[in-house]
Symmetry: C2
Subunit: 345 residues, 2 copies
């Protein structure tokens, strides 16, 4: 077996000197390098933005969608939508483990896993597309893929439906951070609290801050507020427009009796919510941006503009044990599991 790079650069064809995610074309030859793991793939979960784009391009014609996906993978060696740049994840069974990683990984041949690195960097070869389920962006295939040494994954649990596990794993970074960041007694504001990642963050933060702390869930309308209140995941639920920074600040100060919060977590899916996340946080507090709609410069210049000495963190989709933490949440909370089954499966 040939020796491979931890990050998979040995498979980059074009352009040279970039990582697989930035590459236009990678090698999807299924002959294994010594630090790679071969996966027998059952299904791709295409990123929602990517799937929608392909669906529209193909006028919702299933055969055309199949052809377009085959075409992309044959061309690029990976399922990375050329328009959106995004990928998705895959489900499959471990078929072979490279000699250099044997014993170093806890994976065994036959394990069923979901990859948690993006399809936009995963070498993939599709033999046949069996079925497409447009309502859940799922593509069932016969094919193989490669997991790099640095690639992250989750072994699929046996005590819950695969689709339920996948729906939660999709946002696994958020709850793991919400468990790590707050201390007992902290006041935590969560923007976009009724969404998938927002709810998980509320749930984790509430356990962590305890009786003396406060978790404040911010939602945009009465309907979401009622829904979120019923979950019991927050101490307080407030309704505000997340794009109106001073409006958000005032609503927060109302429920905290004028106290600025220790931590704000942004899970909102619209742009221009940076200042709403920064303003309610006390000096030396923490601002955590999990939303992909965050603008780096708006956050950096905005905090300076209002003289806020806050620690602003870029939401990393990965943190240690993030998959386990997220699946545990679904096991622990009947409410959470029911909501996920109803809304996301």
């Amino acid at each position: 077996m040939k020796k491979g790079c931890k990050y998979g650069t040995h498979r980059v064809i074009e352009p040279k000197e970039v990582l697989p995610q930035a590459a236009v074309k990678i090698c999807n030859d299924m002959e294994l390098f010594d630090n790679e793991i071969l996966i027998d793939v059952q299904a791709l979960n295409i990123d929602s933005a990517s799937f929608t784009q392909i669906e529209e391009e193909c006028h919702h014609d299933i055969e055309k969608i199949k052809n377009r996906i085959m075409e992309i993978v044959n061309e690029k060696g990976k399922m990375q939508n050329p328009v959106t740049g995004s990928g998705g994840m895959l489900i499959g069974t471990i078929e072979k483990i490279g000699s250099a990683v044997e014993g170093k990984t806890d994976l065994k041949i036959g394990d069923k896993i979901a990859t948690l690195v993006s399809l936009s960097l995963t070498p993939l070869k599709i033999e046949e597309i069996i079925d497409i389920k447009p309502d859940i962006d799922r593509v069932e295939i016969k094919g193989k893929a490669i997991l790099f040494e640095s690639g992250i994954y989750a072994t699929l649990p046996k005590d819950m439906e695969e689709t339920l596990a996948l729906a939660a794993l999709d946002v696994a970074g958020a709850p793991a951070q919400a468990r790590k960041l707050p201390k007992e007694g902290d006041y935590v504001l969560i923007l976009g609290a009724a969404g998938k990642s927002g709810m998980l963050c509320c749930y984790e933060a509430k356990k962590k801050v305890g009786e003396k702390g406060m978790v404040i869930g911010l939602v945009r309308d009465e309907k979401s507020a009622t829904f979120l209140k019923n979950t019991g995941f927050c101490h307080e639920v407030i309704i505000a427009d997340a794009q109106n920074a001073t409006g958000v600040l005032n609503k927060v100060l109302e429920v905290t009796d004028g106290k600025e919060v220790d931590i704000a977590i942004n899970c909102v899916n619209v742009p221009n919510t940076e200042m709403s996340t920064i303003l309610p946080v006390k000096d030396e507090g923490t601002v955590y941006f999990f939303s992909m709609a965050t603008s780096f410069t708006k956050a950096a210049l905005g905090a300076e503009g209002v003289g806020k000495d806050v620690n602003m963190i870029i939401g990393n989709g990965y943190t240690k044990h993030h998959a386990q933490i997220t699946l545990e949440d679904l096991r622990e909370s009947e409410t959470l599991r029911k909501i996920f089954e109803e809304l996301y499966v």
Copy 2:
């Protein structure tokens, strides 16, 4: 005196419900609100991107530049370039202090200050433009400005030239963070180490990590490397293309004997350097993006893609005592002061 909002929203004219920086037009009436400070302005230091744009638009004609600046300020109530969106800073003397901030601020009437919040949110009224110095983006004026209660500033030191102080204050956030982040014995990588903010970061980090630590300065060519080595601000200087992540990683591992660094600080002014900053950092290490060319999504998805559990921080232009720290550096280091005088004054 009327009561004002800490963040100056009471001066926003259009659109409603935004902070002054996001506003198209703010009120530059110089009648003071109770929490405002009136500044008698001597000069504007226009942001370099903004000044260049105006210069080109006006074909380098000084009279036309004067008129364009007057026009912008009269229209918007602040000196925010409508094309670049950026502002700059101003120098002036404290003329009047609002009743609600009297005693709460350490400023006295007659103090000479530089504002460290952007001109893009500072109410400004220009009576007359006296002179324009295009080589240092400086506009000498007769006029008044308002500092909001949340506005940050630095009292100009008496022991150094004003232009020297300004050149350093411009990047004050970076060295203050480079003092805060590292611990003794840490390995710190600084990308863009020969630039203004990069050099200050090297200088601060080297003091902090001590004998057992290592500060590695990354530069792009031989010339910058020789320059940086001569300063003595780094333990090691490496040459690499900051857009080539694996190239950077390999160069770093060479000088550290295979050890990943604890902290990487990005002060590079070009895009696509996120992965070069993330890859060399050890798990649970810190990545600090001070560069305004940083892409939020590239950092967030990139770290996940390579399975790096690193803490990624958005460079906040403000942190407590940042101005004092930066000016102290110039007083402490003869080398630093000389370089700044030669290159940036």
